[in-house]
Symmetry: D2
Subunit: 304 residues, 4 copies
């Protein structure tokens, strides 16, 4: 496959979609980003890297971080993770409390906010210093050290995150949160506020395309079976209530964040990360979604 040509044609076909959608504005710090940016980084399983645009500009990875905390929780607790959080798509907006009430405090999956808060709670219980452990983990799977969590963003989310507080207390009322709400949310906002660029994110997602191993070092992060399961979860639950649409039109396991980032992968073939801050109504990057749809169309590499 001639990736340079494919990426060039994607860039060309994205033109009409520039300027569509709007930047997440629910917290002031996120709203400050310059909206008309786009970057893409694609890493092949043979180590080659192909990129477009602002592929080395850091952005807030937000919910994409939930995949990494899930991996850490699986490393700590293995199958026990699934006693406190489910594996089914939610069919509801990511921050709905309704479903949580009907299902009595067990979040449907680890990628809706309630589920990710439960995962954060597990890590607070299991790890002495979860923030440091999280950064260390990210460094180990990317081989890079140059990123950190943006304190202003984390603080801004904390100050406007009343619904997450509601969700955390609700989980606690069902006995599915073991630590103090403030402590758990402090870690939750920390990992959501991590800033990475497309290149780093593509490297991190290569683990999921490479049988659970870091490509450069061969370090085993997850077993093959665990890797497949995380990929399966991304496929069915990675895009909020647009997960079906993404599976349908892109056909790759992936995860999006309200910072405008999306990371995805094709097992054994490649990992890819795109970023553009303008979001569609479901909270997913307009250019990012379109770019990935074009990528699978042009490469023929959907998993289906």
């Amino acid at each position: 496959l001639d990736y340079p040509t494919i990426l060039a044609s994607i860039q060309e076909e994205l033109r009409p979609f520039w300027g569509q959608g709007k930047v997440a504005d629910y917290i002031p710090e996120l709203a400050r980003v310059s909206p008309d940016q786009f970057g893409l980084s694609l890493e092949c399983s043979d180590g080659r890297i192909f990129e477009l645009g602002a592929s080395t500009t850091p952005f807030s990875i937000q919910s994409i971080s939930k995949v990494f905390t899930l991996v850490m929780a699986i490393q700590c607790l293995s199958e026990k993770v699934w006693t406190r959080v489910g594996v089914e798509p939610s069919g509801n907006p990511f921050n709905s409390l309704v479903q949580l009430e009907y299902e009595e405090g067990v979040p449907r999956n680890p990628f809706i906010n309630a589920g990710a808060i439960v995962i954060a709670d597990m890590l607070v219980s299991e790890l002495g210093a979860p923030k440091e452990a999280f950064l260390q983990f990210m460094r180990s799977i990317t081989g890079e050290v140059g990123f950190s969590s943006n304190e202003k963003v984390a603080q801004s989310e904390k100050e406007h995150g009343f619904r997450n507080s509601a969700m955390a207390y609700f989980l606690k009322s069902y006995g599915n949160l073991k630590n103090e709400v403030e402590v758990v949310l402090d870690f939750y906002y920390f990992h959501c506020a991590l800033e990475m660029n497309c290149r780093q994110l593509a490297k991190a997602f290569m683990v999921f395309a490479n049988h659970g191993c870091v490509l450069q070092t061969g370090e085993k992060v997850l077993s093959l079976s665990q890797t497949k399961r995380v990929n399966a979860l991304m496929q069915t639950c990675g895009f909020y209530d647009e997960s079906g649409e993404f599976t349908f039109s892109v056909g790759l396991p992936g995860k999006s964040g309200v910072g405008g980032g999306i990371a995805a992968l094709h097992p054994q073939e490649f990992s890819v990360s795109v970023w553009s801050p303008r979001l569609n109504k479901k909270g997913n990057s307009v250019l990012g979604m379109k770019a990935l749809e074009l990528l699978t169309t042009k490469t023929g590499f959907s998993i289906f």
Copy 2:
């Protein structure tokens, strides 16, 4: 009407129901009450008082206090109260977050927990010292001074009230809570933990049977129209999701609490308070509900 004879026969007919139901145990302090107690106090609009059993034993009035904070909010804000809380029965358990989500943060009525928390928020905003003002208000409408809020109960509720915290943060996420969650809940638990006996509670409810005026002093607490509206609200929303059943079988405006107390009234005729800690599945006192049903049957005094 020969009230002494009527009350005696009610006492007799209640016998088979003693021991049914169970004491609220969701907070340890409430669970400590001796379960097999019963008291009743009926005050006529001519000032005569008739009583049964433990009518002067103090108990935790819990949700009955929501009627009094609503009255205080109406005194402060008049019709503006209804811009932030509705007047419709909820059709759901008292602590459901589901309905709140569908109705975007405006609680259905001031007697479900979410609604009472909004009312508490109003009082925190309007009054310098809401706790003192609340106690002062209770003293003024009863002419009594010998009661206070039980700090242990308030503290116990606070420590186990994760769902109320969830609800308060959820309200805040919709912009319908102006003060800090902790401050509002501190006042909320304070007024719920007020301890009164049946005699005092019947006196307090006489205001609603007496055109909004204190019987002994003639002091005007609410206008006639406001009084009717509070009574109407108690009729449709006073007993959680058993409000229809209470209206159906008792036919008086009233309000219950999980401490086992119920207060009710017949306009221009009487106010009445009963207390017995064992609750039915809907959270209402078993003996209390039965006693009031017998009272309206024997006196013929339902409002319908």
Copy 3:
């Protein structure tokens, strides 16, 4: 009380509200009514009648008929009625299937569509010829013979009543409908399409203000206790999801219909019927609601 003066001032104060709201248009036949009409008939418990406007113009009573079929079902089955339908307000629009699913096929009360369909099913089972029995019943409580069900309206509702068919089949799936869906709905549409005028309707509702007896003949229709219960139900459930508002602002037991009619009563004092086709967003007559609110304000006769 000087009723003629009171009614005259009500008529005066209604002026600004003429033309507000819109006629029910979900079925073509109902949409044909001339919108700017208003009638009122008030019958006192001493037999005097006071009226305004088009008090003898027949209109489609629609959901008001549900009160009468409920009375007939109570006559047939007494307390057994309540094994198949509840007595709680619904908190949802009148034709919602959501609640029915959560409550597994037992409608919340007999005045939402699902509940009235179950009542119709009971009457189909109990009575040889339910339509004739219904007309006969209406004649006996009003002392009048000059009304009938409008076949065109019934037919039009049948042809557009897909949601009622859905509800009936849903009830049947829960085992709470014994007869064929078509047979039950045929009777349901028949009784909803009954046409009466305000004077007749006020006479019919006098039964509920007069201890369950027909005023002119003394015939006992319901026991005192049953009458109180039907009144209580109208109070909490008579106005769809505006029942709390009606109780709050009018304070009388009553029932509305999408034909623009409302009937209400004050026990021992009067029954009253108003009619005006323009509806508010909740499906209740704009002028009708306002007229009754003024009536209780001016007479001081709310039940609270």
Copy 4:
């Protein structure tokens, strides 16, 4: 891959699970099947076939038929299909009306009952004789002629399918059903009552593993892109509210039916069909789910 050895070991490892679960009993005709049967047929993309047990015993394919009617609808209407039915997983039981109400009559996906009824409605509109066309289609993609729809099962479902009738009328009330309810459901029950055996079903599903073409004839049934989309839909929505679990533990696109059948596929590799009548609580075959989980574990062929 040594399929004979793999299948033999699957058969061995299934032993402890025999007798678990129970046969669908919601309609009498389905409940009659002898419960302890098991068959499997696996067809490789090179045409080899490997089988276990009762692979040529016909069974009621039930909801698996919904994949085929969807394909027919796509053939007729192409992208227009998605204006009347969504592509998102439902997060609710397959026959819930709740979600349909919140989403105003557009079913979440074509595999929940409501969605399949809409698809049936499309085919009734598009095809002169939908039953014959359906059988003809099944013959063309399998190259077999020896199967038909079981009239007794269809009739039995019709007589007990009140909830489907409810759903169909509900769809009609939202304008999302163009034909008569009876006509649509008659076709719906017809295609659900189709009887096939594992071998035939595996052949039919080979289309989805073979770029949308019939393996033996090369006939194009769907475009490559359409094929991927149908596969994606099976992945996210094929197993009712156990779709996430199936994706998670099996990792193949597939579809189950309450007759105990499951069909699945790995693109470019194989199609597979299993059948065993005992179902788990979610309505999926116990032995079938387990067999497929073992198959992907032993072959390493999950798509993730």
